[in-house]
């Protein structure tokens, strides 16, 4: 092993010599590898960044929450929308039944949303997202309250005219005033502000409480039909600890089918969605993006690989005599092979490194421009390095093999 390292060091020295003495030729040939590695690694980095962002967003939605809805979360092309069109939407009464019939349910909440104008004295904001929630919303979704409190059980049950408002709504509507205890107007009704959500910031789906007003379902119920498809009614169900999503899904399916009196052979007329399904959808998308990266980068690398093979053939030819002398001084075929292979790998690595540097530069600029948190992960750097090494090995193998198996007679002939 030590001998091998020594041999390798000596091979690398020879290789380095030839790289240094042919700078321009080397540089031009490396361009293919550079572009290829740049394409692959930059696509991977962007996909990784997106993936990270989406995953954190999804987990903030609660990865242990089942969404009972009319529509399934599905993005596929053959989405059978006509099958789902005529399904009934979830209703508040079904929530009560669910509570009664399930065993492993921790909590569940019915929500519906609509957009309305909100007024406070002479100020108003149009198209504010109004979320109507049954009790226990705070047990299913996680959030924090900055000022005041959340809707109480009694307020929820009796449908009191109270509201918890998002931080952005609070600052727009009240500016410097304290919103708590003040009266705002929605649906033409007076509603008392009892709490303000803590600022959350955007996630990928724009899912946050910052620009939202939450009202008790029983209050809103008297102005609009919350079960109407227009308001996107959903039942969010969260299982007890120690129970998996699958167990909860199974139980909910049975319960929902019995609530809706669905015959055994008939299909479900509801969808049980969960965030893991959502991320699975994205998995496909990311896989496609990555494949695209491979294809684009792959072609450049292919070109680059031929370039390296070409350089190596030239290099072998130029150094025929040296090879012969090395052999005459006792160098084994393997030594010659390693020597030229390491030269090829060195070349390819140089090209790849330049590509990686470009990615570093690119991500730096991109993260400045787009406020995107683009990080080059170690695994992507390693991927770039590995791909380069493999290209070097593949492209260099035939030239190196031919060098190693040069007949010393031919190799030395030029010399004597």
């Amino acid at each position: 092993m030590i001998l091998f390292i020594k041999l390798f060091k000596e091979s690398a020295l020879f290789a380095w010599g030839s790289v240094v003495s042919n700078k321009l030729r080397t540089l031009l040939t490396l361009l293919g590898i550079t572009i290829g590695i740049f394409a692959i690694i930059s696509v991977f980095s962007v996909v990784d960044a997106l993936e990270r962002q989406i995953r954190t967003s999804i987990s903030s939605l609660g990865d242990n929450v089942i969404y009972i809805q009319k529509w399934p979360w599905e993005f596929s092309q053959d989405f059978a929308w006509w099958k789902y069109m005529n399904r009934p939407s979830p209703r508040p009464s079904e929530l009560d039944e669910i509570f009664r019939r399930t065993n492993i349910l921790e909590s569940a909440v019915f929500t519906a949303s609509t957009n309305r104008t909100v007024e406070y004295f002479n100020r108003s904001i149009e198209q504010v997202n109004i979320l109507s929630v049954s009790q226990d919303y705070d047990k299913v979704r996680s959030f924090e309250i900055d000022a005041g409190r959340f809707i109480s059980l009694t307020e929820s049950g009796s449908g009191r005219n109270v509201a918890v408002i998002g931080s952005k709504i609070a600052s727009q509507l009240f500016e410097n005033d304290n919103p708590i205890g003040n009266i705002i107007k929605i649906f033409g009704r007076n509603i008392e502000v009892i709490g303000v959500f803590a600022p959350e910031g955007d996630d990928t789906f724009g899912n946050n409480h910052d620009e939202m007003i939450v009202l008790p379902l029983n209050f809103v119920n008297s102005f609009i039909d919350v079960s109407s498809d227009r308001y996107g009614p959903v039942i969010l169900a969260k299982g007890k600890e120690n129970f998996s999503n699958d167990e909860l899904t199974d139980e909910l399916r049975g319960v929902m089918r019995s609530i809706r009196k669905i015959k055994p052979a008939a299909e479900d007329d509801f969808a049980l969605n969960q965030t893991s399904l959502l991320s699975r959808q994205f998995d496909g998308l990311f896989a496609i993006l990555k494949i695209a990266g491979w294809i684009i980068g792959g072609f450049s690398i292919l070109v680059g690989g031929f370039g390296i093979a070409n350089i190596m053939f030239v290099s072998v030819k130029e150094r025929t005599t040296i090879i012969g002398i090395q052999k005459a001084l006792g160098a084994k075929n393997f030594f010659i092979l390693i020597q030229f292979l390491s030269e090829a790998v060195l070349l390819s690595l140089m090209g790849g490194s330049i590509g990686l540097l470009l990615v570093f530069g690119g991500t730096f600029i991109a993260s400045q421009l787009f406020d995107m948190d683009l990080l080059i992960q170690m695994k992507n750097v390693l991927l770039g390095v590995n791909v380069s090494v493999i290209i070097g090995l593949v492209a260099g193998f035939i030239p190196a093999w031919s060098a190693a198996h040069l007949n010393p007679v031919d190799a030395i002939r030029a010399n004597t």
Binding site: L3, E10, F14, G17, I322, I325, I412, T416
Partner: protein, 250 residues
């Protein structure tokens, strides 16, 4: 000692070496001379196995080289040092590393320190001092030749082959190099075979001179005998230059 018996080698049915027999003694500088195209290079290449002879035998201390397996041959090759035309040092290695190279290749059981010591010893022997870390581009032609000699003897060879060792050197340096080779030959009891054009070398270090003519061993003897060989072709070769002709008439 290397013994050559009835060596025959042809290219495309044209004989280049024809029935060559001779003995190269240990501790002697054996010179192969002859006109251009007489077969010197082919002869030497046959000796080290770079060409396969068609007939005949090459005996390295009674070991028939032509009959050996490639593994056994590489055992013999370990004992052969080679001095290539134009020195042929590795440009990317410094003087010391060039000398270590064959040690690195052949001597798997020498320690780093032993190799370094051996390299320094050889460089000392060829009078290279304080140049161990210079690169071939930074030293003179004569020095390169010395380094090449140091490299050729690094592995303590029993046989040393030199191909036109003083081509490209001025006459004074050429004589120094010739004598260095001869000293080393005597000192380490090497069987040295030198391929040359140079009559100066013949006179200076020709312990045993082999004259090839059209692929045949036409004449052999010592450097003294060559002046009075009485052989027409040898005389033509020896007295080709004006200088030698003048020396003769004196």
């Amino acid at each position: 000692m290397i013994e050559i018996r009835n060596l025959y080698k042809a290219f495309n049915n044209l004989p280049v070496l024809n029935n060559v027999s001779t003995i190269f003694q240990k501790g002697n500088t054996n010179l192969i001379i002859g006109q251009s195209g007489s077969g010197k290079t082919v002869f030497m290449k046959c000796l080290v196995g770079l060409h396969e002879p068609d007939e005949g035998g090459i005996y390295y201390d009674n070991l028939n080289f032509t009959k050996l397996s490639s593994r056994e041959r590489s055992q013999v090759r370990k004992k052969i040092g080679m001095l290539f035309q134009g020195s042929a040092l590795f440009d990317s290695l410094n003087v010391e590393e060039n000398v270590i190279f064959p040690l690195e290749m052949f001597n798997k059981d020498m320690t780093k320190k032993e190799k370094l010591e051996r390299a320094h010893f050889c460089l000392d022997r060829v009078n290279i001092h304080n140049a161990n870390h210079l690169y071939p581009a930074e030293i003179s032609g004569g020095m390169k030749k010395r380094v090449a000699i140091a490299r050729a003897i690094a592995n303590k060879p029993e046989y040393l082959f030199c191909d036109e060792p003083n081509s490209g050197l001025d006459p004074a340096t050429a004589i120094v190099i010739d004598n260095l080779i001869r000293e080393i030959t005597k000192e380490f009891e090497i069987t040295t075979v030198i391929n040359t054009h140079d009559m100066n070398s013949v006179m200076e270090i020709g312990d045993h001179v082999v004259f090839l003519y059209k692929g045949e061993l036409w004449w052999e003897g010592t450097s003294e005998q060559i002046l009075t060989s009485g052989n027409k072709e040898v005389e033509e070769f020896v007295y080709a230059s004006e200088l030698m002709r003048k020396l003769k008439t004196n």
